[in-house]
């Protein structure tokens, strides 16, 4: 297999990964959408090759982890390359919040990036002369973040101490949750920077004819009215993904967060993973974060690539999906439902073994039942549904409860509950599923047929499913079964669906015991085992 990784981006995070991968003898291609900075890759050895493609945008991607074919546009020409992994480290963009504060940009109203540029170009600072008062507006309407706060504090420190201006910073919550920011905050205060913080009220901001801002507010600490006519008003910026970055997620079929960055908030993706094997998100492509965090991302992405090339055996042997091609009617449900994009379209859908994580969502979703995973068929699950001996002993009714548990969450909580000695129903039988999304109607009805008095489906919480939407699919299927049961005149209370995390041992005990009580009240199931 070739050892080649595509890095999309041009910032320090992208460069750092490029150099680091080269030092590990892994070939790299860096695709930079514009002129970009001049990469002088220091670790370039004869063993690995490096290619920097400027003015190049990704337009199409085929294949899967270990064997991606990427199609890029370079000034109208199509460039085709074969790579094993892809890292999205595309730069974010900034949008000045002029409109948010009702201000129009002018020589008196500038963005924080404009100010940074002024301060960084020699002599340009003179443009600030003649103005005594500089007001920063930051995080007044929308909450800010430590990245922006740090920039504003650094600028204000220079303006106050070097340029002898009077600086006012107006904000709601000062974002100091970053390394060294509390110390920096104190330094700015010692230098004379004045902070006004608002809780519920916001200042009233008006722009006069000559372009200056008049700001009036009630200071919540001294309870006094203030009026500031600002020589220069600096508005903060929102850091957001560029259109190209959003487009990249679409091309690579990677789930995005609400802002449009190439990773969701799913905690199982910590740190640089996406829902798609072989596609990583790092640095500015991943989230709003500091330069230090970009570097941490770079190291973590390099580790993931290294692990991919160096790992001798897979972490765990998992059963993967297989499609019976002769029965497939090409409805493409599997293609649309697979959270890992492990289904490829040939003449008919094919499971890419390397990308399949064996979650079983496709097996349950396929309307024709043509997809199988070892261990998940109706009969295999049915064989596991065995009544605990305690159910049959004695005269008191001990409900037989079958709990279908996601192996990542509820099954772990069950183990912890046993370890901790928590109370569990004596008639409880756990069936582990690779993901709650693999639960099928067959499984639920098999449990009823085996004489279960109550059936539980326990999923991860919404937003925490390793397979992204497995818990939602499970809920949809449970809803359908509720509907069947109601129509059949059967107690739908015999089935429940709950969410649990892996560390919720106590809750596992509580919900199973609570359900047992509910079933005792209902009495034994009318369905006779084997009948």
């Amino acid at each position: 297999m070739q050892r080649r990784t595509l890095i999309i981006g041009s910032g320090t995070c992208a460069r750092n990964m490029a150099e680091d991968l080269l030092s590990l003898d892994i070939e790299i291609i860096v695709a930079v959408k514009d002129e970009g900075p001049d990469f002088s890759l220091s670790n370039h050895t004869q063993h690995a090759s490096a290619e920097v493609l400027k003015h190049t945008r990704l337009v199409k991607c085929r294949g899967s982890v270990g064997d991606f074919t990427v199609f890029m546009d370079q000034k109208g020409e199509t460039v085709e390359r074969n790579v094993s992994n892809i890292i999205i480290a595309e730069e974010d963009t900034r949008e000045p919040n002029f409109a948010l504060y009702g201000l129009a940009p002018s020589s008196h109203i500038i963005s924080s990036s404009q100010l940074k540029d002024l301060l960084n170009s020699p002599g340009e600072g003179a443009l600030l002369s003649g103005e005594e008062t500089i007001v920063f507006l930051s995080g007044i309407l929308d909450e800010s973040n430590p990245v922006i706060t740090k920039e504003i504090m650094l600028c204000s420190l220079r303006l106050q101490s070097e340029f002898k201006k009077q600086i006012y910073i107006l904000t709601k919550n000062l974002k100091v949750a970053g390394d060294g920011l509390e110390v920096l905050y104190r330094k700015t205060k010692d230098a004379g920077v004045v902070y006004f913080k608002f809780a519920d009220a916001s200042p009233s901001i008006e722009q006069n004819r000559n372009g200056r801002a008049h700001i009036a507010f009630n200071d919540e600490v001294t309870n006094q009215q203030f009026r500031l006519t600002s020589g220069i008003t600096v508005v903060d910026e929102t850091i957001k993904p560029s259109d190209y970055l959003s487009e990249l997620s679409k091309i690579l079929r990677v789930d995005r967060d609400n802002a449009g960055f190439a990773q969701t908030g799913n905690v199982h993706r910590i740190r640089v993973l996406t829902n798609r094997k072989g596609v990583l998100a790092a640095g500015p492509g991943r989230a709003v974060q500091s330069a230090e965090e970009h570097m941490a991302d770079a190291s973590n992405a390099v580790l993931r690539v290294l692990e991919f090339f160096e790992q001798e055996e897979p972490e765990a042997i998992i059963n993967k999906a297989e499609i019976n091609r002769s029965k497939c009617v090409r409805c493409l449900t599997c293609y649309r439902r697979c959270p890992y994009q492990a289904i490829q379209l040939d003449t008919k859908p094919v499971v890419v073994q390397e990308a399949c994580e064996g979650c079983g969502i496709c097996t349950a979703e396929c309307p024709k039942g043509t997809i199988t995973i070892k261990g998940l068929s109706g009969s295999e699950i049915s064989d596991q549904i065995i009544k605990p001996d305690s159910v049959n002993s004695g005269k008191i009714f001990v409900p037989f409860i079958v709990a279908f548990c996601c192996r990542r969450s509820a099954a772990r909580a069950w183990e912890l509950a046993i370890e901790a000695g928590h109370n569990l129903p004596p008639g409880l039988r756990i069936i582990e599923l690779p993901c709650a999304g693999s639960i099928s109607y067959d499984h639920i009805f098999a449990a009823f047929k085996k004489g279960a008095d109550g059936i539980m489906v326990i999923t991860c919480h919404e937003g925490n499913c390793h397979s992204e939407k497995g818990n939602i699919f499970a809920r949809q299927r449970a809803d359908m079964v509720f509907e069947f049961l109601t129509q059949m005149g059967f107690e739908k209370e015999r089935l429940i669906i709950k969410s649990l995390a892996a560390n919720m041992a106590m809750e596992f005990s509580e919900i199973t015991s609570g359900f047992e009580k509910q079933i005792i009240d209902l009495g034994a199931s009318r369905i006779k085992p084997g009948g």
């Binding site: 919550n173 809780a199 965090e293 190291s299 765990a316 919404e462 937003g463 560390n503």
Partner: protein, 344 residues
């Protein structure tokens, strides 16, 4: 890669140590993981899941994944109830380990990663009555409580509190203590727990006393908008806490909007204590040539993971306050740097 015979010592079995151990073991590097307690998992092991109907991304479940990963990985040798008694450096390191039973043995290693974590600030010196009043607890106490039971009760009488106050920044952002840092994680922890309590115990009122609410997680704005409807927010650092005759707590604070001091009665007070440098750092400084920053956390030149001593790396909250996600990333960075150091 040639990992033959290479081994790395990881000191501390919290989230950073577990993560670093796993990263290295996956690449075939032999790992010795030493943990002073009798169980792995560190502080995070006691954390509760804070999901209401949806996951709120606190990351508490990540530790379970890592614990399982470590226990399933034959390449990681775990030494519980043990600490480094002596370290000698001569190209490789010779480490003497001592366990709680008094026995010791030594082994050789190529590099060391320090992931010994933080110590929670002890708020007994603050005028909030911690350790004097049963119903004044820390956020870590509340995490443990919520891990054990789904409803919050008061330690003094096991009754559900009508009113709970969270006090933020206890031991953080405090010039008098020379604690010039934000502990980063307490706003997320407090607001997520407050939101969880409100969703399960709607009759319980929650008030949060704060300086500045810190942004955490993606979609913070959305979470914060929701939580502001559920939790009363007061920007003030409370003064004192007294116990009333009917076993409630009287809290004083300065109401700046009204420009006057106020008193309010609560049933349970939760102190969000800061993350401070680990108490066992002194021993490590004596053993290894590592340096501490002004704040007392381990300092690394050029903000990398390498300390001032060659072959010794650091990750996680031993470097300063970090969330679970940041600790995992920090461990990844250290693992990458160690691989570079070992030239494998």
């Amino acid at each position: 890669m040639n990992v033959n015979g290479k081994s790395v010592f990881v000191v501390g079995g919290g989230i950073a140590g577990l993560s670093a151990a796993l990263e290295l073991a996956r690449l075939g590097v032999g790992v010795e993981l030493v943990e002073k307690e009798d169980v792995l998992g560190g502080h995070t092991r006691q954390f509760t899941c804070k999901a209401t109907d949806k996951c709120v991304r606190c990351g508490a479940c990540i530790v379970e994944e890592k614990l399982k990963g470590v226990s399933d990985n034959p390449g990681i040798k775990v030494h519980l109830g043990s600490h480094m008694e002596k370290v000698e450096s001569s190209g490789r390191f010779v480490v003497s380990l001592a366990d709680n039973k008094g026995s010791s043995h030594s082994c050789e290693t190529d590099a060391i990663i320090i992931t010994s974590g933080f110590s929670p600030f002890n708020p007994a010196g603050k005028p909030y009555g911690y350790s004097r009043f049963d119903n004044v607890i820390t956020n870590l106490d509340l995490e443990r409580l919520l891990r054990k039971q789904s409803l919050v009760t008061r330690p003094s009488d096991d009754k559900a509190p009508e009113k709970i106050a969270f006090i933020q920044c206890v031991g953080s952002r405090d010039a008098k203590l020379n604690h010039l840092w934000c502990s980063k994680v307490c706003c997320g922890s407090a607001l997520r727990m407050a939101s969880l309590i409100r969703s399960r115990q709607s009759e319980t009122g929650v008030t949060l006393f704060y300086m500045d609410v810190q942004t955490f997680g993606r979609d913070f704005q959305r979470f914060f908008n929701k939580v502001k409807n559920d939790v009363r927010m007061i920007r003030a650092i409370p003064g004192d806490v007294f116990k009333t005759e009917d076993d409630r707590l009287r809290l004083t604070y300065f109401d700046s909007a009204a420009s006057e001091p106020r008193e309010e009665i609560f049933d349970l007070i939760v102190l969000s204590v800061g993350l401070t440098p680990g108490t066992d750092l002194a021993r490590l400084v004596a053993q290894l040539n590592i340096e501490l920053s002004d704040s007392g956390f381990v300092s690394t030149p050029e903000k990398g993971s390498g300390t001032h001593e060659d072959g010794v790396f650091a990750a996680g909250t031993v470097l300063g306050p970090m969330s679970i996600a940041e600790s995992v990333a920090s461990a990844g960075k250290a693992a990458r740097d160690v691989v570079e150091y070992l030239k494998i």
